[in-house]
Amino acid sequence: MTPAGNAVDALPAERLAARSPFAGVPRALTIFLTAAAVLAPLGLILYQSFLTAPFFDARKTAGVEAYRFIFADPDFWTAFVNSFLLASGMTLIAVPLGALLAFVMERTDLPGKRWVEPLILVPSFVSPMVLSFGFVVAAGPVGFYTVWFSEIFGGAPWTLYTLPAMAVIAGLTHVPNVYIYASSALKSLGSDVEEAARIAGASPLRVATTVSLPLIMPSLLFAAVLVFFLGFELFGLPLVLGDPEGHLVLSTYLYKLTNKLGTPSYHLMAAVAICIVAVTFPLVLLQRRLLQNARRYATIKGKAGRMRELPLGRWKWAAAGLLYAFLFLTVIVPLSGIALRAFVTNWGIGVTIAEAFTLDNFRAVFDETTHVRAIVNTILIGTIGGAITVACYTAIGFATHRRNDGWSRFIDYLVLVPRAVPGLLAGLAFLWVFLFFPPLAPLRTTIFSMWLAYTVVWLAYGMRLISSSLLQVSTELEEGARTVGASRGRISREITLPLIRHGLVGSWLLVFMIFEREYSTGVYLLAPGTEVIGAQLVSLWQGGAIDVVAALSLINILLVGVGLALALRLGVRLRD
């Protein structure tokens, strides 16, 4: 560095001119590919719903018969009402319970809460298919717990196959979704308001219900809409618990349509799909608005003052009771059910565990090439597939990072679309895409088709992960690079990317867990060669191979568990 007066170091010539014409190409390409991957499947579904036969059938014509048929089918309306009831019921259970648990964990001095917290989140990481199956095996009419309970008390007072029972189980298993948002919001509350209430004479429960929880109402509202929305998308749970008594919801109604008329009724399925999306898409938009509200609310209130825990006193027992009861019912019961079932040959009234113990179920799994292939594929799609997925999400993230133009807003809304389409339909749509577009055809029977469907379905989730990482990078670090002469591309590569490395690894782990537990998206894409554990479980369940289902479920849980353990070890934030 020399006194001014020496020659100024020249910047590379192209920097001095206005941006080069090729500067925008990577961004344009990213946006185009994303739009294609998202809109093509949905477009096909829409197109198919207005035909009278499968779209590849030469005899098809345009028409609204499909809609006419399903609107005239009483089963459709029953399914619709059931979906609504189920979604409402589970919201009414999950939100208060989740909020209360969040309060206990975040704001009180309950002993031992630190190591318990990951357990609360477990249901959100285990496949709903596996959980429902676990409940049947553990607490169904001839479940382990049912049988033991009957032996002691002469009968079990519960049944799983009714709509209220389904709502309870769905509510319990969705508590983590509420918990995550409620606890985040509670973290940023100062304790002064709670202490003031306590001094005025309120018990911890009253403090919770009259002070803390009302203060985080925006977050709770968002969580409520989220859970309600997830209720419409439920598939595994109603499949396992609803079918025995014929309780249909929209997703299982659609699944049933696969064969109801004897020959495939793609147009009917597409019509039902459009109806589902018509309900879920507004909910997604509503969610987005509520989330922005909740975030704004938190920043307006500002950072927390001191954060002191509320002493529970004799309420400790009630709180602990609530917590452990929840964990028992939602985590221990189903998982123990699966673990037990995986190690016995058969079960039922009059069968004892000791005499039925076996490793045969696992042998059956590993003997069968399709099952082994499913395990291998599932691992591959989670690890390598997950890494590539995170790379794609990062590329899209960069395309919208710190750019507030129309394209960024377009992408913002675009990624909401797959969120509104339940996995089941997305898989079906991708099947059609692969059938419809000849260049993609050879890829259909490879794991690529599954990977693509997964990546698109989870786009919104992944983008949130990436953007929260990107936002951690202070604007000034990037501006500093600009002032010394770095182009946007170089900044992304040399400044931003290295700084979000840890966040990317965390995202990869989360994506791994999501992919491992995925099941509905792969149902229609399942083909020899593309088996994954989740989709195969659905198919095996239909086929009644309970032993193999149990063993595979246990393997699935182990895989997710590995991911979860790694994430915890690396300190990855498990919340949004």
Partner: protein, 355 residues
């Protein structure tokens, strides 16, 4: 030719106008401070010069090269302006070593590696950071980080460096030392610097010229002495130092002086632009210019002592005259009761009262 020329710059955020027609020039070897309260637009102006904010009207020229022209819709982005910018928070890249932080700019300019190494070493040496090249930013003290930020901005010899509140992140004690050191560095290297600061003492100490911004416009500009000693507006007078203030009515105005009187007092002082006979006015005098007197006389008034505060190197006395409060310095305590105070005419400014 000026190193930096800004003309008629207008900038708004959405519907909100931030800069309402600002102009400045910066000659080589000059330090110009942009001074003003928060919200005055000074940081925005600096960032606009850097290319990080985009005005909608006006021109910006670096040397003879136009980097922004609202009329011709010309806007060279920040990465093309070749300026140095030192952020208030330093913005050192945490994943790069000190040497890499400083050398990055040279890497971007395709300077050969060996040369980068030597130039970085020189730069670090100039700022007494020679032994810290391999450290990471989080391992440095605040002062060291600031110097790295400076080295980073200077290593590629930009014609102008921009400094955003360079001293506000330092402890009060360090600030005074840093003030001196920074000025000395800039002068020695004959740099042309544009500084943003909210602290008028800092601006007075470091600059060759000061631009005082008020609500997006330049209230007054001049040398530090001019800004301090000859404020053209009440705002300027108020901002640049600590004052006593008496509100009253302006009497006659002649020969550049004006008389002003209020409840129990009458003064004569320098008439500032806008002071009109018969209008409401405000008289201002610096705290340190108010003297204790021994008796009545011209430009003197009597006030009651409210309280005295011991400041270590002097006493500060608070007086009350009706509704008006006056402060003065002294070197000894005073007895309670009424005292005579002198406000020398050449130290008093008479302004028209603000609307």
């Amino acid at each position: 030719m000026a190193e930096l020329t800004v003309e008629d710059l207008h900038l708004r955020y959405g519907d909100n106008p931030i800069l309402k027609g600002v102009a400045l020039t910066l000659e080589r070897g000059q330090v110009v401070s942009l001074l003003g309260p928060s919200g005055s637009g000074k940081t925005t102006l600096l960032r606009a010069v850097a290319g990080l904010e985009v005005p909608h009207q006006g021109t910006i020229r670096i040397g003879d090269k136009v980097v922004f022209d609202g009329g011709r819709r010309l806007d060279i982005p920040a990465e093309g302006r070749n300026l140095g910018l030192v952020f208030q928070s330093y913005a050192l890249w945490p994943h790069k070593t000190v040497a890499d932080n400083v050398g990055y700019a040279l890497k971007l300019r395709n300077v050969p590696a060996a040369e980068i190494k030597s130039r970085v070493a020189t730069a670090l040496g100039e700022l007494s950071l020679g032994h810290l090249g391999a450290r990471y930013p989080h391992q440095l003290s605040g002062g060291q980080q600031q110097r790295v930020a400076l080295a980073r901005a200077l290593v590629y010899n930009p014609p102008v460096i921009l400094l955003d509140e360079p001293l506000s992140n330092l402890d009060a004690k360090l600030r005074e030392e840093a003030r001196a050191w920074l000025r000395e560095l800039i002068v020695r290297m004959q740099l042309s610097a544009l500084c943003v600061t909210h602290d008028q003492a800092e601006a007075l100490a470091m600059s060759d010229r000061i631009l005082l911004l008020n609500n997006g416009r330049i209230e007054q500009q001049g040398t530090p002495e001019q800004m301090y000693g000859q404020p053209a507006t009440l705002f300027t007078a108020d901002f640049m130092g600590s004052n006593n203030r008496l509100d009253g009515r302006i009497g006659d105005v002649r020969d550049g002086t004006a008389s002003i009187e209020g409840d129990g007092w009458r003064l004569r002082g320098a008439a500032r632009p806008g002071a009109a006979s018969g209008a409401k006015g405000t008289a201002m005098i610096r705290l340190e210019r108010l003297r204790l007197a021994d008796g009545p006389g011209d430009n003197r008034l009597q006030a009651d002592l409210s309280t005295s505060m011991y400041l270590g190197d002097k006493w500060e006395h608070l007086f009350r005259l009706g509704e008006t409060r006056l402060r003065a310095y002294g070197d000894r305590p005073l007895s309670a009761g009424a005292h005579w105070l002198e406000l020398p005419a050449h130290d008093v400014w008479v302004f028209a009262a603000p609307e």
